[in-house]
Structures are given as structure tokens and as C-alpha cells.
């Protein structure tokens, strides 16, 4: 399969894949053969930089059709690579927003049967994509994260994403007239959403959940207190 990487990259660079070709490739990823599946996802993720928009949209849609319980780390990696490897004129907002929405859904729907590992990977992927977006879009997404935190849903994951985004996306110069660094962004979120209070409440709620788990016999969580 690895030998196919150069061929696939070349065909994608030349925009030569037909709908049937893409389907054939995706179907190979669904063959119940662990090695072949892993190798294929490696090839697809590695070749993402050569994908044209049509390839990106196709593979995003196919990953979107995977059942939450069947989701593996390679799916998340593919979504992230598809959204973070576009450059210059090839940049497609549609692709980026679609990828973000998919990862957001995985992160936010705790009832979606995805494992914790997948949720954490999706959170990392989400912040990786955000770090490649324009400052205006990143501010919008950071506001969305703060707003979601006020709903008390998946707060600990939101804190993780938000802290990564603040570290990676607001290095000066940001090019924004008012938000020139991470500190300005924290001030903005604090003023608008009372961020510090939300984080403290989430922390208290998290500690409450840990205590409850310990009282049911989860001695291994004592270190978290």
C-alpha cells in the first residue's frame, strides 16, 4: 500500500481521480483488514497536501458517514490533515468549516458513543485547524467555545481546546487592531463571557464528579484531587 502513495499523490496533484476512483480507494479502507486499513489512512493523510477541493470534500463526507462507535484515530487524523494542508489559492473555507463542524460534533456529543481517546483526539484536531485560520475566524471560534462553556456541557474538553488555541493562535503580531496577543483575547473573553468564573465553576464541577467517582470505588482517581 505504501508503494501506492506516490501514484496517488501524483494523480491527486493532476486532479485526475474520478468519482469511481475515490470510491474504490475509500472502499479499500473499509475492507476488514487491519494492516491495509492503517496503511491506506497513512497514505491518504500523507497525501492530503496534494488533494484538490473535490477530493477533500469527498473524503470528509465519507468519514462523516462512519458510525461514531466505529470511529478510529486515523479518521480524526484524516479530517485534521485535510483541513490543515491547504495553502494559498487552494484554501477552501467550505472544507475547513466542514472539518471543524465534524470534529465539534464528535467532541460535543458525549452520547455519540465515541471513546474518550477519540474525543480527545478530535479536540486536538479542532485546535490544530483553528491555529491555521485567520485571526477573525479564530476569534469567532474562541467566542463560540466560551459561549459553549457557559452551557456547562463538555466543559473540561472546551478548557483544553481553548487553552491550546490561546497559546498557538494569538502570538503577536496577530494583525488584529484590538486583540494583539493572547492576553488581549483572554481580557475580551473575560469581559464578554466572564471566562474566569466559567473556568472556576467547571473546575469545581469536575472535582465534584471525581469525588463522586471515588466514592463509587474508583481509588485510581484519588491523584486527581
Amino acid at each position: 500500500m505504501q508503494r501506492a502513495e506516490k501514484i496517488l499523490n501524483f494523480l491527486m496533484t493532476k486532479e485526475a481521480l474520478s468519482d469511481e476512483d475515490r470510491e474504490l480507494i475509500w472502499n479499500a479502507s473499509e475492507i476488514n483488514d487491519g494492516d491495509m486499513q492503517v496503511e491506506l489512512f497513512k497514505v491518504l493523510s500523507g497525501g492530503a497536501q496534494n488533494m484538490k477541493k473535490v477530493d477533500r470534500v469527498y473524503f470528509l463526507e465519507r468519514v462523516g458517514q462512519v458510525k461514531p462507535e466505529d470511529m478510529i484515530g486515523r479518521h480524526i487524523e484524516l479530517i485534521t490533515e485535510i483541513c490543515t494542508t491547504m495553502r494559498g489559492a487552494n484554501m477552501s473555507e467550505e472544507v475547513v468549516l466542514k472539518g471543524l463542524e465534524m470534529l465539534w460534533t464528535i467532541v460535543m456529543r458525549s452520547e455519540n458513543k465515541c471513546s474518550l481517546l477519540i474525543v480527545n483526539r478530535a479536540a486536538l484536531g479542532y485546535s490544530d485547524i483553528l491555529s491555521r485560520m485567520s485571526i477573525i475566524q479564530t476569534i469567532e471560534q474562541a467566542e463560540k467555545l466560551a459561549e459553549t462553556m457557559s452551557t456547562k456541557k463538555m466543559g473540561y474538553v472546551i478548557v483544553k481546546i481553548l487553552s491550546r488555541v490561546l497559546k498557538s493562535s494569538f502570538r503577536p503580531p496577530t494583525g488584529h487592531p484590538e486583540i494583539e496577543n493572547a492576553s488581549d483575547m483572554v481580557d475580551h473573553l473575560e469581559q464578554r463571557y466572564n471566562l474566569l468564573q466559567l473556568v472556576i465553576e467547571e473546575f469545581q464541577s469536575y472535582m465534584g464528579r471525581v469525588r463522586a467517582e471515588i466514592s463509587t470505588g474508583r481509588e485510581d482517581l484519588k491523584g486527581d484531587l
Binding site: M1, L11, T13, L24
Partner: protein, 103 residues
């Protein structure tokens, strides 16, 4: 059919790539896994060569007329290779269909 001595470096290089692609496809049709792997290697090399040509095409340096003409011939060859690889979906079928890959 042009004589070999009349061909320049670009023609020779293009012919070599096309011939390698044809041999790769031929090997890929064989019933022996090892031969098919050889075919895949050859096609992989051809794809790499073509990929390098495409990367070189974006160079900002000023080219002479002769160089431009040579680049055009290389690009034509690249298009021919794409056509050969994509024809009837044969190559991708060989790679991405389980019974052939593991045959």
C-alpha cells in the same frame, strides 16, 4: 519513427518514462504477486518523476525559448502518463482491490 541519434535529452527521458510506465502496467497484470509488486514499484517511480516535473514547472526563473519548449514536451508526457495510469481504472483496481493486492 525518429532515430535515437536525433532525439535530445528531453525526448530520451520522456521515452524512458513512458516505456517504464508501460512495463509497470504490464507487470501489474501478471498473476505473480512479486511481479505485480515490481510493476507497482515502476509505476511509483514514474509517478515520482512526473511529480518532480510538475513541481519544477512552478519555478520563477526566466526560461529560454528552448527550455520552454522542453518544459511543454515534459508536461505533455506527464499528461500521457496520467492517461495511461487512469485508463479503465486498471491500475487503481490492481492496487486497491483486496483479491489482487493479496493474491
Amino acid at each position: 519513427m525518429p532515430r535515437v541519434k536525433d532525439l535530445d535529452q528531453t525526448d530520451l527521458s520522456n521515452s524512458k518514462t513512458i516505456l517504464t510506465c508501460e512495463i509497470g502496467k504490464l507487470f501489474l497484470r501478471q498473476n505473480f504477486l512479486e511481479r505485480r509488486i515490481d510493476g507497482l514499484k515502476l509505476l511509483s517511480d514514474v509517478s515520482y518523476t512526473c511529480g518532480r516535473i510538475l513541481e519544477g514547472g512552478s519555478s520563477a526563473q526566466i526560461l529560454t525559448e528552448k527550455q520552454i519548449e522542453s518544459e511543454e514536451r515534459k508536461n505533455k508526457m506527464v499528461d500521457q502518463v496520467v492517461e495511461m495510469i487512469c485508463k479503465d481504472g486498471e491500475v487503481l483496481n490492481e492496487i486497491f482491490t483486496k483479491q489482487r493486492t493479496h493474491g
